[in-house]
């Protein structure tokens, strides 16, 4: 049991009804969410808040070849695994060869971009690419590096639970594990032990947001990423001194129309830019944010869909030319619909296609995603008022996902994860190769010019050239308005300053402190914490 | 037991019925023989569980005999078709013991009387049926206007039993089986029912099987009597002959035990049967095939005590 003198930080990164001892870093959905970063440290951490700046961790540097066809990572000297064994380039090569042999482990499909991985010397590894890619480092560092001397013995890495992990990160020792709580403590061989002031992290099991809120208020969780209703009243007010939060804009939530909708009449309307623009102007984004989102999200009225999150990349032309289509303007929308011929053809009080065929929009939302359901219900109010026939269906999330992948829906609300560069969301959404494979490409809309630009973007090193390409991409998207941005949902971050200081916040925006498992910079936050004596 | 020259309407011939399992059989009826004659009443007496109701049910074809046969007007009634079953049903009717449970508490008297007419008198139209109902009620001495639309619980026990009889009569039966029809009634109304049955018998020429454990009432209504014990008829014949000259020990035992206001219970009379209850019972329960004739119309099963 932990001694009281130790600095123990309680955090919650996942909701669960019981803890299962699984620290397999390749099992993304089933291993504990504190596996990445805390047990398996990344080579490099890219900081989205600082324009993608690199924080070198296990690697002390990396070098992209001039032809962008390979990248070489240089590891720090004297790195050790938590069992004391040396951490070398062999482990890196082993890991990548390992996931090539076991494709089920390659959860980021990194081998889609690689041709081979080779050891240059004891501390250097070169990754050879199959095409030029200036952003490949972002992908490669997402893959955890595992110790060869352990994993080469593992019979079935897919089902391996890795109950007592040997890792490279700061918190590798599992000192306690019960279905209700587990603790990870300091790695005795951690290379950066001097910067680490937290001795242990403790993860109490919490099943849902309500419980988590209780734990936050009770002080039994000090670092959390969870939706909290009416946070000023329900959390901050219970201890204004120490209870704090900082929400930063994150994934983009947008209304999406299927350009390949099964209903022919709907398809006609959806393929008409005027209809899409009118639809966009009918969405009362602020009300949705205020009511469905408790005011937490950041409105996204950017027709090029970048918004506040990628402010640094924004092209001012977009706002000037197409800005009005991203904003709620009921009258303008009505006018546009009327003008484009979307009027009531058969006297049922509902707008029809210009050719008189009926439009019948069914908005799909996964069942149980209540904030989205609320958002849709609010949107439906204005859409209905404008004379459109809309309804809502709430299929099971799996069915919903499958429908989105297949483009087999009429309208939906969809989310797109944030990234360090807008290149990623654009590519995820508009790459025709992903149609039928990924729900992020749900609209099934693409554009040749756009794809050309995206393809060249990663082959260019020059920043100005990149900016010019990004500017043009934005204009193309904003003009076509293939998706209707609504808001960027916040990355939730609640914390307690009673026992630890050094939290990142609006005044100290070093990096995103969100403790979710997809945020690599949570490692930086952990290292920045200092116990209050 | 063909004591009378003319043919019985309904007869059981060597009928047996056994219940229970192979290892543990209950002989409810054993080699029963008797016939029912128009205008005559046969009383079936015996203690509880002796098999009286089983006999009634055999007659009503609710039970199928394990052995022997049931004859109706001399012809065996067996595996009958639907039509002949219906004919049989309209010829043989039953009056039950408990006047409350034999009438459906949720239906009016009218229903109880019109259903049998519906089923067995297809010749009648609505009017005819109504007339027939009135007629039936008059027959059992009830005022149609007062009872027709009442529910059973609104009538007294005697009235209910009259309804039961009227219902049985509705189908124009030739045989009526009455299973303890008065045992649940008050003393003062019992007689009315018994008289009614007697009248029916003579007026309509019905054959009547009267089942009871009360020998005194049996004597009141029946010409013939059968005494049953453990599924066997142990003594049978002319009522007076049997009662005045009982030969079978069990019959004597039964007669000795019947409450008799003319005899004090402590007047420990020559009731030697009552002193040997267990012996008599055990002996009477044994199967006996041999029959002994006492008088022209008086028989017993032989018994060894």
């Amino acid at each position: 049991a932990p001694v009281s003198a130790e600095a123990i930080l309680s955090l919650n990164a996942e909701a669960a009804t019981t803890w299962v001892r699984n620290f397999n870093p390749f099992a993304q959905t089933t291993s504990r969410y504190t596996t990445m970063d805390f047990i398996y440290e990344p080579l490099v951490v890219f900081n989205r808040l600082q324009g993608g700046a690199a924080h070198y961790r296990l690697a002390e540097s990396y070098e992209l070849a001039d032809d962008l066809m390979s990248i070489t990572f240089k590891l720090r000297d004297g790195l050790k695994w938590s069992d004391g064994a040396p951490f070398t380039a062999d482990d890196v090569v082993f890991t990548f060869d390992y996931i090539k042999e076991n494709p089920a482990l390659d959860f980021i499909s990194v081998w889609g971009d690689l041709t081979s991985v080779e050891k240059v010397d004891e501390t250097s590894v070169r990754f050879n690419l199959n095409k030029p890619n200036s952003l490949i480092a972002n992908t490669i560092v997402e893959m955890p590096i595992v110790p060869q001397h352990i994993w080469s013995e593992v019979a079935d890495p897919v089902t391996f639970a890795n109950e007592s992990p040997v890792g490279s990160g700061p918190m590798t020792e599992i000192t306690r594990f019960t279905p209700q709580v587990y603790e990870q403590c300091r790695n005795p061989h951690y290379w950066d032990n001097d910067s680490l002031f937290v001795d242990c992290i403790r993860m109490p099991q919490l099943a849902d947001n309500q419980q988590l809120l209780g734990a936050l208020n009770a002080g039994t969780v000090e670092w959390a990423t969870s939706f909290v209703p009416d946070i000023d009243n329900s959390f901050v007010s219970t201890d204004p001194e120490n209870h704090k939060y900082w929400f930063t804009p994150s994934s983009l939530v947008s209304f999406q129309l299927s350009f390949t909708a099964p209903d022919e009449n709907n398809r006609k309307a959806f393929n008409d830019i005027n209809f899409r623009r009118a639809l966009s102007m009918l969405i009362d984004r602020q009300t949705i944010i205020d009511i469905a989102g408790y005011g937490y999200p950041v409105v996204n009225e950017d027709p090029s869909m970048l918004g506040e999150l990628y402010k640094a990349f924004a092209n001012p032309e977009v706002e000037a030319q197409f800005g009005q289509y991203g904003r709620f303007d009921f009258d303008a929308a009505i006018a546009l619909l009327d003008e484009a011929g979307y009027v009531d053809a058969n006297g049922d009080g509902l707008r029809d296609n210009p050719d008189g065929t009926p439009i019948n929009i069914d908005i799909n939302v996964p069942s149980g995603w209540t904030d989205w359901i609320d958002a849709v219900q609010i949107a439906m109010e204005t859409l209905t008022e404008a004379g459109l026939k809309v309804s809502m269906s709430t299929p099971d999330s799996a069915v919903w996902g499958a429908d989105l992948i297949a483009g087999n829906y009429s309208m939906t609300l969809n989310a797109l994860a944030s990234a360090s560069n807008p290149y990623f969301p654009y590519r995820q959404t508009f790459n025709p190769e992903d149609f039928g494979k990924s729900r992020f490409a749900a609209p099934h809309w693409s554009d040749e010019r756009l794809m050309d630009l995206l393809n060249t973007y990663t082959t260019i090193k020059d920043a100005d050239q990149q900016k010019a390409i990004m500017d043009e991409i934005q204009l193309i998207v904003a003009e076509a308005l293939p998706i209707i941005p609504v808001y960027n949902s916040p990355a939730f971050f609640e914390y307690n300053t009673k026992n630890f200081t050094g939290w990142f916040d609006a005044d100290n925006p070093v990096a995103s402190p969100v403790v979710s498992r997809v945020n690599r910079t949570r490692l930086l936050q952990l290292l920045a914490l200092r116990p209050v004596e | 037991m063909t004591t009378l020259s003319d043919q019985p309407v309904l007869a059981l011939q060597n009928v047996s019925k056994t219940f229970g399992s192979k290892e543990n059989p209950i002989y409810a009826a054993r080699d029963i023989n008797f016939g029912l004659y128009p205008g005559r009443t046969l009383a079936l007496v015996g203690e509880s569980g002796s098999g009286k109701t089983t006999v009634a049910r055999l007659l009503m074809r609710e039970y199928i005999p394990d052995a022997g046969q049931l004859t109706f007007r001399g012809a065996p009634v067996q595996g009958a078709s639907k039509a002949s079953l219906r004919a049989y049903r309209s010829a043989v009717q039953m009056v039950f013991q408990d006047p409350f449970s034999s009438l459906n508490p949720t239906r009016t008297i009218h229903h109880h009387l019109s259903r049998p007419l519906h089923l067995h008198r297809p010749d009648l139209d609505r009017k005819g049926r109504e007339a027939a109902i009135i007629d039936l009620l008059a027959r059992v001495q009830l005022d149609p206007a007062r009872v027709l639309h009442k529910f059973p619980h609104e009538l007294s026990g005697g009235m209910r039993q009259r309804i039961s009889i009227a219902r049985a009569l509705a189908v124009n039966p030739q045989v009526i089986v009455a299973d303890e029809p008065t045992s649940m009634l008050d003393v003062s109304v019992r007689l009315g029912i018994l008289n009614l049955l007697n009248d029916m018998k003579s007026e309509l020429g019905l054959a009547l099987l009267y089942i009871t454990h009360d020998i005194a009432t049996a004597r009141f209504v029946a010409e013939d009597i059968m005494v049953m014990y453990a599924g066997q008829v142990v003594e049978w014949g002319d009522m007076d002959s049997v009662l005045t000259n009982p030969q079978h020990p069990y019959t004597r035992l039964l007669l000795a035990a019947v409450p008799d206001p003319d005899r004090r219970i402590d007047a420990a009379a020559p009731q030697n049967e009552l002193a040997r209850v267990e012996d008599i019972r055990a002996a009477s329960a044994r199967v006996q095939t041999e029959v002994q004739q006492i008088a022209p119309n008086h028989f017993i099963r032989k018994i060894n005590l």
Partner: protein, 325 residues
């Protein structure tokens, strides 16, 4: 004993039917269960990755009959597969964890409410028509007619949120390691109070009304009048003559009541986030964790069957008339 043997046969048959339904249920539903199974992995896995995973898990399309046989075999060997959500935990272990909580929660709640309801019912019937009877039976009607959800939410609201007397989740303080220590037991009791109170509230009324009605029906029986005529103390007649006999139909109803108890406990567990079977089932349903759902239904049915059998056994013990048979 023949009675018990017959019941045993019934339970076996019932279990088989339940297991069969359980097998076909997901297969009758639209959609590929395998795809749905991995939907929780959905967004972060690529399609290739998913297919690779499926292969690794050995999801090959076998003929239905073959699948069914394999399923039956695994059911009877207690191998319920592995949870998708809590991979690689075997379903049996996952359920085993929650089973303890449900069994104790449901068990204690049933015992308490049974005793409480029965006693109150006995007393109400004995003093039929008195103020006590009116008050108690009215309360009972009230308690039985309110949905368990409503009771649970209200209890949680009042005692968990407003008064803050009791915790609003968990079966025990997570910081205390499970052990046979007073501290842990105390914590378990403390955490179990609200769910228990809710269940007891919901259940007691039913037992009370049944017992009261059974009792009243018995009070006219000759043997009870004889008990009173014997000059025994009222309480003895009430307990040993009336209640003892009125208990028999109540006990045979207990088996059916257990289904209600289990349903009630599901809701209560969800509301109070109690880590029992009901909550596990609920979470599994939300996550479409097929193996867990299937295993869960089977275990619940099995538990019901066992409980029923226990009830049958105790019935035989309570009713001397059955012993001979």
């Amino acid at each position: 004993m023949a009675f018990l043997l017959r019941r045993l046969m019934f339970y076996l048959a019932a279990f088989l039917v339940a297991a069969t339904i359980n097998f076909f249920l997901p297969r009758m539903m639209p959609g590929d269960p395998i795809d749905i199974m991995f939907s929780s992995a959905g967004s972060s896995l690529t399609l290739e990755n998913l297919n690779a995973l499926k292969l690794t898990f050995g999801f090959i399309d076998a003929p239905l009959g073959q699948q069914y046989l394999a399923y039956l075999r695994s059911v009877f060997t207690g191998d319920l597969g592995m949870s998708i959500k809590y991979f690689p935990m075997p379903v049996s272990e996952l359920l085993g964890r929650s089973l303890i909580w449900t069994v104790s929660l449901v068990g204690i709640a049933t015992v308490i409410s049974f005793i409480l309801g029965t006693l109150l019912g006995v007393m109400a019937a004995w003093k039929r028509g008195s103020r006590f009877d009116s008050a108690v039976s009215l309360l009972a009607i009230f308690a039985t007619s309110i949905p368990a959800v409503v009771v649970a939410l209200l209890v949680l609201f009042v005692f968990g949120y407003e008064l803050r007397w009791f915790p609003n989740g968990y079966a025990a303080d997570p910081l205390i390691d499970p052990a046979f220590s007073w501290q842990y037991i105390q914590s378990v009791l403390y955490h179990g109070t609200l769910p228990l109170v809710t269940l007891v509230f919901v259940l007691t009324g039913g037992f009370l009304v049944t017992m009261r009605n059974n009792m009243i029906n018995l009070l006219g029986e000759d043997y009870i009048v004889m008990g009173r005529a014997k000059g025994l103390a009222e309480r003895d007649v009430m307990l040993w003559y009336a209640a003892r006999n009125a208990l028999l139909p109540t006990v045979s109803n207990l088996a059916i009541a257990l289904g209600t108890v289990l349903s009630g406990s599901l809701v209560v567990e969800v509301v109070f986030n109690y880590p029992g079977l009901g909550n596990t089932l609920y979470q599994a349903i939300l996550a479409r964790d097929y193996p867990v759902i299937q295993g869960q239904l089977l275990i619940m049915t099995g538990a019901m069957l066992v409980a029923n059998f226990v009830v049958d056994l105790s019935y035989v013990l309570l009713d001397p008339r059955l012993k001979k048979a």
